[in-house]
């Protein structure tokens, strides 16, 4: 029976289903959908829409983690790109705004990649530097204010819709497909997994491990910048103080829930995004439940542990439980 189901991803899908079911219990109208001004409207759409920034972050983060790295600066990069987008929005066209803010993300990624790949710093400290300084840079751009804008193009990015889907969701989907195409359509995926699995051996096999590491940080920066632009577009303003705050942890969590090991190697883009959705489904459920906010973190802790235990190699997920039951019978 396990042959019918995908081996990888089973635990995640199961977790998502369980959490969706719990959400349905705490909020009976959870699955209600209706069309509102040409756009789908309902809690499920909220999950997708609110999950977008973390999903985008996890797309970059999963590649970084696959090389055995980690990027703590993504939240700060979101703030920088959002700040740039907001300050340029009302005076420049959308292409310029996007180029500038995504360019900033690229530069941030280059910086991180440079520290890790060239200077050989440990990823966690290397990116801690930008995590601290980056938010400062973002605040420098906005001078601590919330910079608002009205540029219809940018606002559409946050609040518009395509075929009934919110634009951010469409963008995230597009990025998933693009990243997947680039990574799996070229040899990048294999070489990244090799680098993360055993950098020394890969180097000796002729893999340009530095280039690999540099490129994943750059991509992570770009993804974070895009998430930042969307987060700014969503509230029609750049809140450098709070945009992306602590989201790096959510992104890492999403990647791990998606089954990618923090020790590098094998990764899955789709499952990382699924991980982001699991987190958001939980968050939305908490908001809908009406429990006092003092409980939020407790619920989060319990759910995270449950999801992880479900895919613990010791229990080897669902399949493992089944196997155990079967063995227990005779």
């Amino acid at each position: 029976m396990t042959a019918l189901l995908p081996r990888r991803g089973l635990a995640q899908i199961l977790a998502l289903i369980v959490i969706l079911a719990v959400d349905r219990v705490v909020s009976p109208q959870f699955f209600d959908l209706r069309l509102q001004d040409g756009r789908l409207f309902g809690s499920l759409i909220d999950v997708l829409n609110r999950g977008t920034p973390v999903a985008l972050l996890s797309l970059g983060m999963v590649l970084v983690i696959a090389t055995r790295g980690i990027d703590l600066s993504v939240g700060a990069v979101m703030a920088i790109s959002g700040a740039i987008a907001a300050s340029l929005a009302d005076s420049h066209g959308l292409p310029v705004v996007l180029a500038a803010s995504l360019g900033a993300g690229l530069v941030c990624g280059l910086w991180n990649g440079f520290l890790v790949a060239v200077l050989g710093m440990q990823p966690i400290v290397a990116t801690l530097i930008l995590m601290v300084a980056g938010r400062g840079i973002a605040q420098l751009i906005t001078e601590g204010r919330i910079v608002t804008f009205a540029s219809p193009g940018l606002v559409w990015l946050g609040n518009g819709s395509i075929l009934g889907l919110p634009v951010p969701v469409a963008i995230a989907l597009g990025m998933l497909i693009l990243t997947g195409a680039v990574v799996r359509g070229s040899a990048l995926g294999l070489l990244i997994e090799a680098t993360g699995g055993n950098a020394r051996a890969s180097e000796l096999a002729g893999v340009g491990t530095r280039a690999m590491i540099l490129s994943v940080y750059v991509w992570c920066g770009v993804c974070a910048a895009l998430a930042g632009v969307i987060a700014a577009a969503d509230i029609m303003g750049a809140d450098a103080n709070n945009a992306g705050l602590w989201l790096e942890l959510d992104a890492i969590l999403a990647v791990v829930i998606g089954g990618t090991s923090l020790f590098g190697g094998r990764f899955s883009l789709v499952l990382a995004v699924l991980g982001a959705l699991i987190i958001q489904t939980m968050n939305t459920g908490i908001l809908l439940s009406g429990y006092p906010p003092e409980f939020n973190l407790l619920v989060k802790a319990v759910v995270v542990m449950a999801v992880l235990l479900l895919q613990s190699p010791k229990l080897s997920g669902f399949a493992g439980i089944m196997a155990r039951l079967r063995r227990a019978k005779p």
């Binding site: 400290v125 601290v132 923090l262 542990m305 010791k314």
Partner: protein
């Protein structure tokens, strides 16, 4: 001696930094500032010692900040609301936090889950639990608190070596002894080298993992008590982000995040370097919120780059010892 050269380099970097700061702000070169540095960073120093053990063993503990927060709230409520004598409250919270760490260690080992995530869940849990206890900050008025807070050894030049600074120094020294001189310490390094190999060599990896996280949480509990002395209060939002500060201190101190190498003294120096950066920025006093962050980042980078450069310089190509003597 394992890890000594990088430690020396870190020490040199610290002294150099201190000298540079003192040139710009002569006031910095006083025992008062040094005393403050020790007092203000006492709780950070204590958790960082625990974090050193965890990181050398190849793990990480993100829950320490929350454990500190929880401890302050628990202690404050126990003393002020529940009428528990302070010492009993301390014992209770230390048992509780040690058990919490042991539980995390057990989950990490038994279910083979990444420490990063397990302790992240622990971080949510401890912070969430402190919200449940009280969302308000609770002042502690017990006489022990004012006695301890007021206690200080006077240093020449007006500096004060406070009780909590002394506690921190004792823990740093104790931690260093534990890490470098005992079987437990050797096993910590062994785990960091490779869990599988250590296990094949007969190290009880499971027990060690439990003990290491227990130690880290226990020290976080002590740090929490120290924090409550420091502020004479319990507050659910205290010590947010301390986990990152302590990880940074450990790494600046020359410990490898991949495990297997490092030292407690290095960590202590790392804590002082971070304190230096903070002090410098405070003395400057012209920095806006954003420039403060940027300056912190730049200085962090400068220190790490300087240190790595020096380490690279110090690592002369040493000819490997040849094979068997015949």
């Amino acid at each position: 001696m394992r890890g000594l050269p990088p430690v020396l380099i870190t020490a040199i970097v610290l002294v150099l930094g201190f000298a540079l700061c003192a040139v710009q702000f002569p006031n910095i070169a006083s025992t008062r500032v040094v005393g403050n540095l020790l007092t203000d960073n006492a709780f950070l120093g204590i958790v960082a010692v625990g974090m050193t053990f965890v990181i050398i063993s190849g793990g990480i503990d993100l829950s320490v900040g929350s454990v500190i927060g929880f401890t302050t709230v628990f202690v404050a409520l126990a003393i002020e609301r529940w009428g528990v004598p302070p010492l009993v409250a301390f014992v209770l919270i230390l048992v509780l936090s040690a058990a919490f760490g042991a539980a995390m260690g057990a989950v990490i080992h038994v279910f083979d889950l990444p420490p990063f995530i397990v302790t992240l869940a622990g971080m949510f849990l401890a912070r969430g639990a402190s919200f449940l206890l009280s969302t308000e900050s609770v002042p502690i008025t017990a006489p022990v608190y004012s006695t301890v807070s007021d206690f200080a050894l006077r240093m020449p030049g007006g500096g004060r070596l406070t009780a909590i600074a002394i506690i921190m120094l004792v823990i740093v020294i104790g931690g260093a002894l534990l890490l470098h001189l005992t079987r437990f310490g050797a096993n910590v390094y062994a785990l960091g080298g490779s869990r599988t190999t250590a296990s094949l060599m007969g190290v009880a990896v499971g027990k060690m993992t439990v003990k290491i996280y227990m130690l880290s949480s226990l020290l976080a509990g002590i740090a929490g008590i120290v924090f409550s002395f420091y502020t004479s209060a319990g507050y659910s939002l205290s010590a947010v982000g301390v986990e990152l500060d302590s990880i940074a201190a450990v790494v600046i101190g020359g410990t490898l995040l991949t495990g297997g190498q490092g030292s407690v003294i290095g960590t202590f120096l790392g804590v002082l370097i971070q304190g230096m950066i903070q002090t410098y920025i405070n003395f400057d006093g012209t920095l806006s919120s954003w420039w403060t962050k940027i300056a912190t980042g730049v200085l962090l980078f400068a220190f790490i780059a300087l240190q790595q450069g020096l380490v690279a310089l110090a690592r002369r190509p040493v000819a490997k010892s040849a094979g068997a003597a015949t």
